[in-house]
């Protein structure tokens, strides 16, 4: 894992001191709320419906047990005993007092954490594949590059007051688990035929009210040029991005209005000026950072574990092994997804007790490492297959043994009207009701891979545009309504879901989703044709008919 050196420690300490000073000036009235707002946002402090919310950065979703324990502690002391993992691999506390924030930041700094740039119109916390550093299919560890980007973008003097927020994601496996094509900049690493590492660079993807799949502006950018190229993109965006209308201020609108060819030309021209200068990342520096992310000392094991295979005689464990265990690059190991989606619970929530128990499991069975996924789950990246039955049993004890990773109840939902000041409708209760409706795990297994994503308003924090089934909360004359989109996907076959028709009432939405699912089950060619593939084959018509024909 990345470890802070003296420089990083000093940086974060100064940042805490700076924010302590800013909070003092705000509380004394020297600063108006208007002046304070962008400053607190850059430190992750939002004002929500009922209280301040603090969003803590978990760079590229990587956590140690010690860090998770500290988060559990903060949840217990300063919040109501729980935390909420977000779709940006961060953690939010929803019930925070402003006056406590400097103290919380200090406690975070002690475990090498902070809340810098988790909101505001700046370069946000960089996300990466949540199986990074462990996945059998990756060509490199994307966190190395995410860390380089984190350093470069931290308090960047030129890019701290952008037209709007700016999100980067990095992935390094052919299968894109980081949804890079719906980010402002998406970096998809590959190795060329000479064995050199580089990135396909995608620009201008995003969700919100104008969802767009990013355009590929570079097929292969050598890794040394990563920062020069990103600086070129950011400079063009900072200068040319729209500032007259906050709904048109993201880079996707600039890309769309300028045109793919012209924006590519402009980026390349700016890059030509920057290339080969101060921002070139020297190979030894990449190697140095890569060493921080070296695999922990894992044992040499046989690929097949008898303990693991025998445990599969229990059908519950067999399903867990099938759904929540992913192939590891080292024989005899697996990557375990801890589902934060037990029946009836708010997606992504974990209590302080659960966090502590998970920290213990990670310390004992996963080389002290954890990941947060953008699907609001936690991941144990390095577990011996031999140990997975024990880990499963321990997870069941804390109520987190659900074998539903990637199933219909593995739902992403934004905070919605329960917390968010911008919401039109509640998201969490819809997720809870859906997970109750589809509680039967045999039925979930029959349905197979199906991603439901729910947003409480058009800002799309719940990523509904890229849900196989997307649900969007809208306000219709003061009443909560829900629109369904179908066929979205955030992976390397990225597509934006299409609205299927008029919305459904809060009472009707769960039935409507069930209708969509039943329609799919009837029309699929076989159990091997997942929902998305079936939808792409047949299109909207059968679903529309089932939903609206009376």
């Amino acid at each position: 894992m990345y470890r802070y050196d003296e420089f990083d420690h000093a940086f974060v300490r100064e940042r805490v001191a700076e924010f302590r000073d800013q909070v003092a000036r705000r509380l004394s009235g020297e600063m108006t709320e208007d002046q304070f707002k962008p400053l607190r946002l850059m430190n992750g402090v939002y004002l929500q419906l009922h209280a301040y919310m603090l969003r803590i950065a978990i760079p590229y979703g990587t956590l140690s047990s010690k860090q998770l324990r500290r988060l559990a502690h903060i949840g217990r002391v300063y919040d109501k005993g729980s935390g909420h993992f977000t779709t940006r691999q961060n953690l939010q506390f929803n019930w925070i007092k402003l006056a406590d924030v400097p103290q919380i930041l200090e406690e975070l700094a002690e475990v090498e954490m902070h809340a810098i740039q988790t909101s505001g119109n700046c370069i946000r916390n960089v996300t990466a594949d949540h199986f990074a550093g462990a996945a059998a299919d990756e060509v490199a560890d994307p966190r190395v590059y995410a860390e380089i980007l984190r350093q470069w973008s931290s308090l960047h003097p030129e890019f701290s007051f952008l037209p709007r927020k700016f999100k980067l994601a990095v992935t390094a496996a052919p299968h894109d688990r980081a949804a890079v094509q719906v980010h402002d900049i998406g970096l998809h690493m590959k190795v060329d035929d000479k064995g050199e590492r580089g990135f396909a660079v995608w620009v201008g993807g995003g969700q919100g009210r104008t969802p767009m799949v990013a355009k590929k502006v570079r097929d292969f950018l050598p890794e040394a040029d990563l920062l020069s190229y990103c600086e070129a993109i950011l400079r063009i965006y900072n200068l040319e991005g729209r500032r007259d209308n906050k709904y048109k201020a993201r880079i996707k609108i600039l890309v769309h209005e300028t045109g793919e060819a012209e924006i590519t030309r402009a980026i390349e021209a700016e890059f030509a000026e920057l290339q080969g200068k101060a921002l070139t990342v020297p190979a030894p520096e990449i190697e140095r950072i890569a060493r921080y992310f070296a695999l922990p000392d894992l044992e040499t094991l046989r690929a097949r574990s008898e303990v693991y295979e025998t445990a599969k005689r229990d059908p519950a464990f067999a399903l867990f092994a099938r759904r929540n265990v992913h192939a590891h690059k080292v024989p005899g190991y697996g990557i375990v997804t801890i589902s934060l989606k037990p029946t009836g619970a708010p997606p992504g929530d974990a209590t302080s007790e659960q966090m502590e128990a998970i920290a213990d499991i990670a310390e004992r069975y996963s080389s002290d490492e954890l990941r947060v996924s953008h699907e609001q789950n936690l991941v144990l990246p390095h577990v011996k297959l031999d140990d997975i039955p024990v880990v499963f049993a321990q997870l069941q004890k804390i109520g987190l043994g659900d074998a539903n990773a990637g199933f219909i109840t593995d739902i992403i939902a934004c905070p919605g009207l329960d917390f968010c000041a911008l919401a039109n409708a509640r998201s969490i209760p819809v997720a809870q009701r859906l997970s109750e409706r589809f509680e039967d795990i045999a039925r979930q297994a029959e349905i197979g891979d199906l991603k439901i994503k729910i947003s409480g308003c058009i800002n799309a924090c719940g990523h509904h545009h890229v849900g196989h089934i997307g649900i969007l909360g809208v306000d219709r004359k003061g009443e909560e309504f829900y629109q369904i989109t179908l066929g979205g996907s955030g992976d390397e076959t990225c597509s934006i879901g299409e609205i299927v028709g008029p919305g459904f009432s809060s009472d009707g939405i769960v039935d409507a989703v069930e209708t969509v699912v039943d329609t799919y089950l009837k029309l699929r060619i076989s159990a091997d044709e997942p929902f998305l593939a079936a939808y792409r084959r047949v299109g909207q018509a059968p679903f529309k008919e089932a939903l609206y024909a009376r």
Binding site: D5, F11, E14, Q35, N121, E158, F161, R235, N238, L279
Partner: protein
């Protein structure tokens, strides 16, 4: 400190030696004057012919095209922050310093607040026109609390002592 000493440069406040004639006021025959971009482009010959420094004021959204050819004669570029949250002047500042090699005074004017001072200096500004009382006080007493460990190269290298470059482009000042 007299009230007219509003320009913070090289660590202290100075009175402004520049005048900023309105667009419809004729240019005075001597003295340092700064004008907007449109006027600068229209009257460059007159400006060059008179005695006194030439300055130009750019609003957010105005690029330095047309100005850069004359940078050898320009001794003040003032970039206006109409709202401190509009960050375009930072990019213009960096372009002037890094791309066009501008060495003269680069002034931030308008909504200049203490919490952005470090960003401004790092982007290449070496002069701040400060109207905000709290910011003046903080600059005068040297009480700005901020982050002085920098991860990335910027445009202030020439003016700030380069600390230990550890391990790569990091710098503490």
């Amino acid at each position: 400190m007299p009230d007219d000493a509003s320009i913070f440069r090289n660590g202290t406040f100075h009175a402004d030696t520049w005048t900023f004639p309105a667009d419809d006021v004729p240019l005075p025959p001597s003295g340092d004057i700064a004008v907007g971009k449109t006027r600068f482009l229209a009257e460059i010959q007159t400006l060059r012919a008179r005695n006194g420094g030439i300055g130009v004021v750019l609003n957010p959204g105005e690029d330095p095209d047309g100005i850069v050819e004359h940078l050898d004669r320009i001794t003040l570029v003032a970039l206006r922050f109409t709202k401190y949250s509009d960050g375009r002047p930072y990019s213009v500042a960096r372009l002037l310093r890094d791309r066009h090699g501008y060495k003269g005074e680069l002034r931030a004017t308008g909504d200049v607040l203490r919490d952005q001072v470090i960003f401004m200096l790092r982007a290449g500004f070496d002069s701040l026109d400060v109207a905000h009382a709290g910011t003046r006080e903080a600059l005068r007493t040297g009480s700005i609390v901020g982050v002085r460990h920098h991860y990335q190269p910027a445009s202030d290298e020439a003016r700030e002592a380069v600390g230990p470059v550890s391990p790569w482009r990091r710098r503490s000042v």
